[in-house]
């Protein structure tokens, strides 16, 4: 279950006390922007969306044999990579390394066992036997992207699987669903309300909503971390701090 864009905006308008879009300082389009910004920031800070991206190593344009690309463009919704796997008859996980390490040894060609990630960039780096060459990522598209580099440079068309946390997608239609866990979705409303009140220069009120947003983020982060710990260590269950401070809990615990 999740909150949809139309639902989020309607409740945001109630918070702003401007329920009629025709008589409001903010158009629906503007509030959609605020909601999407809140969803993206919340998703980035809590990382509730894990997903996969898979590609096959490809040849450098103009070459025919064994000149496979070192760097590959990652999806636009990439927020943070947490694992990269390569399949070469069997699946194994690549280790993360520094880009400088890879480029220092740029002539190496073989089965990659390391990867690096370059932050937002518009350049692609390739290497050949003589030098490092730099080319525009996409001359017609000025959007910066993250790049995944492999080391050593692939010698074949291996299949690479990238596991990453996605940023929140841009919700355009009222029926688009917010992927933030339901119980924290109101944090998105709070952030949008913060932006709206800020744009109205009511900073004290805006700050109240920012505090509520931060509180929702912390709650969501705790839940995500909890889920991660439980996934990795199924026998472990974190106890809530508040739960531990509850005297009744101890009393019952001791009695038990």
């Amino acid at each position: 279950m999740s909150m949809r864009l139309g639902y989020l905006r309607r409740h945001l308008r109630e918070q702003l006390k401007e329920t009629n879009p025709d008589d409001s300082l903010w158009t629906d389009l503007t509030l959609n922007d605020f909601i999407n910004e809140g969803a993206k920031i919340m998703a980035s800070r809590t990382q509730p969306i894990d997903t996969l991206f898979q590609f096959q190593c490809s040849l450098v344009p103009g070459t025919t044999t064994n000149e496979f690309r070192r760097e590959y463009r990652l999806p636009a919704d990439m927020d943070e990579i947490f694992s990269v796997f390569l399949y070469n008859g069997e699946q194994y996980e690549l280790r993360k390394c520094d880009m400088a390490f890879a480029l220092r040894n740029s002539n190496f060609v073989g089965i990659p066992d390391r990867f690096y990630v370059r932050a937002l960039t518009r350049k692609r780096i390739e290497s050949n036997s003589e030098a490092i060459t730099v080319s525009e990522l996409d001359a017609s598209n000025k959007q910066a992207r993250r790049m995944l580099g492999l080391h050593p440079k692939p010698s074949s068309s291996f299949v690479v699987t990238v596991c990453y946390y996605a940023s929140h997608f841009w919700m355009r239609n009222d029926a688009d669903s917010c992927i933030i866990p339901f119980e924290f979705s109101r944090g998105v409303i709070d952030y949008a309300a913060y932006l709206a009140h800020s744009s109205d220069e009511m900073y004290a009120t805006a700050n109240l909503y920012l505090e509520k947003f931060n509180s929702a983020v912390e709650g969501c982060r705790a839940k995500m971390m909890n889920q991660g710990q439980e996934t990795r260590f199924p026998t472990v269950r974190l106890r809530d701090d508040d739960e531990e401070r509850n005297d009744d809990y101890y009393e019952i615990g001791f009695a038990y």
Partner: protein, 558 residues
Amino acid sequence: MAQPKSLKVEADLALDELEISDFTPGLLSDLDPNDIPLGGCRNTENVVFQPGAMLGRRGFSILNSLLAGVADGIATFYDSDGNLHLVVWADGDFFDVDTITFVATLVRANAYQAGLRVCHADLARILYFSDGETIVDDGMGFSGIRMYDPPTNPADAPLVVSDGSPGTIPTPACKVMIARTGQLLLGDLKYDNTPLYAHDTAIWTNVFAPQTIIGTNIVRVGEGQGGAINCFVFMSVTPDSGDSPYDAVFTGLAEHGVYILKGALTPGTIQAIALNCTAGVLDGATAKYIPIQSGAAMVCFLGTDRRVYATNGLATEDIVTDKISKELDEYLLGRLQLAPTGIFTSARNDRDHHYILDCGGGRFYCYDWMRKCWMKFTRWVSGYWAEAIDINGTPILYVTDQENPRLVQQNAGMFDGGAPITPFWTSGTIRIGKAINNIFKWLYLRFRTDNGRVLANLRVLQGRGPISQMTFDNLGGASVAALWGSGIWGSSIWGGSASSQFPALEQKKRIFVNELNGTRSKLQGSDIQITLTTDSAEHFEPLNILILYLPGGRRHVA
């Protein structure tokens, strides 16, 4: 204890308010927009001001659009049977207009010279009239005045011919006429058919004997200076000293000087006393008797200096300076340049307590003598006016159109001859506190309407900045409801439904500016100008304006 303004508070509490609930300062276009007091306006059209409300004026309805020509006069009077008659002079002919069907019946062809203004007075329930020029002999002798007495002679308006008593003169023509103490007082005379004018002279008839005019019963007004007499208005004068009130005839001269004629209409008794006023009367038809609350009376008139004066017979006061004198002067000057002999008329609207100055061309300035404020009306019909009362006692205003051969009833209905009235009101530039950058957030409007709407328009930067526009609708429609509710106590019920009106509505709208790129922005500034209008032909009655704004210095606590 007052909340310190530096503390963080609920947003609503951080906002300050600007409230306008009284619009009776009226039109004050003489003032710099920044100096107009709250409730006053820099411009308005077709709005009437009442305590706690502004109201779209009434319209006009066309009663007869087939008159013989553009009229040169109109009058109402009661005949000796007590019946109301509405008469019109048009194209040289004289008509009696039915007050129900408004069909004009010819009474006398060639009763006057077409194009000349007709003056008239009713004495002993007989109407007398003259155009000031036409002196003819119908076989009984020369005369410049005709009479109309429907019960005795419904099909003609015969001449008032002198009875030839010793000392009498042939009945002259006159440009000004009034009845007083059973006598007709005639001014701006033409004595006989060979032009012999006495423009500054008044002459009177014997008591209840209009056909008897003694040649020596004259008085000259202005001592040979000041030009022609162009108006007589009967008035009462109440001296400040405690002396008894006395009646007098306000008399205006066309070049300069205004007088009262005081004392009995006998030679040596009647006196022409000059009033302290440098101007004369620009057009005699603008002089109008106005009752005022103190029990005395005043006469309002348009001066030759294009200002409006009011006099109580003792002192004369300019009532347009510092209010509307500049725009009035400019408009009248334009009219005079267009037509130097253009007419300016007036009427007294007893229903609304308005002195209506008809400046021609569909422009009217109305003075509310109760609230001492001015209004501006447009698109009414300019022309000659006649006041009457219907069978229910409701005042009626008839007007003959100055430009078209038609008769209309003014100040009636919701339309201007079928077209919407389009009232509007624009405030002055209202300075908001000492902050430079206030954010205007909400506009609350209390108003009355049936199915209409009010359009509001807010503008900053001395009325030249961005505009915020909003519409206040009464989507459900409203029917007239009792003015008061009722209360029940035991078996008794209090309250009534005798008086009714549209219920008051209150709506709020967010104030914002639509940008060209489709987004919206705040309306910010140190001053604000408010315009209210409507695009509907329905009832328009704003009652109260409330603007909530965030003062520039409080944005961090809101």
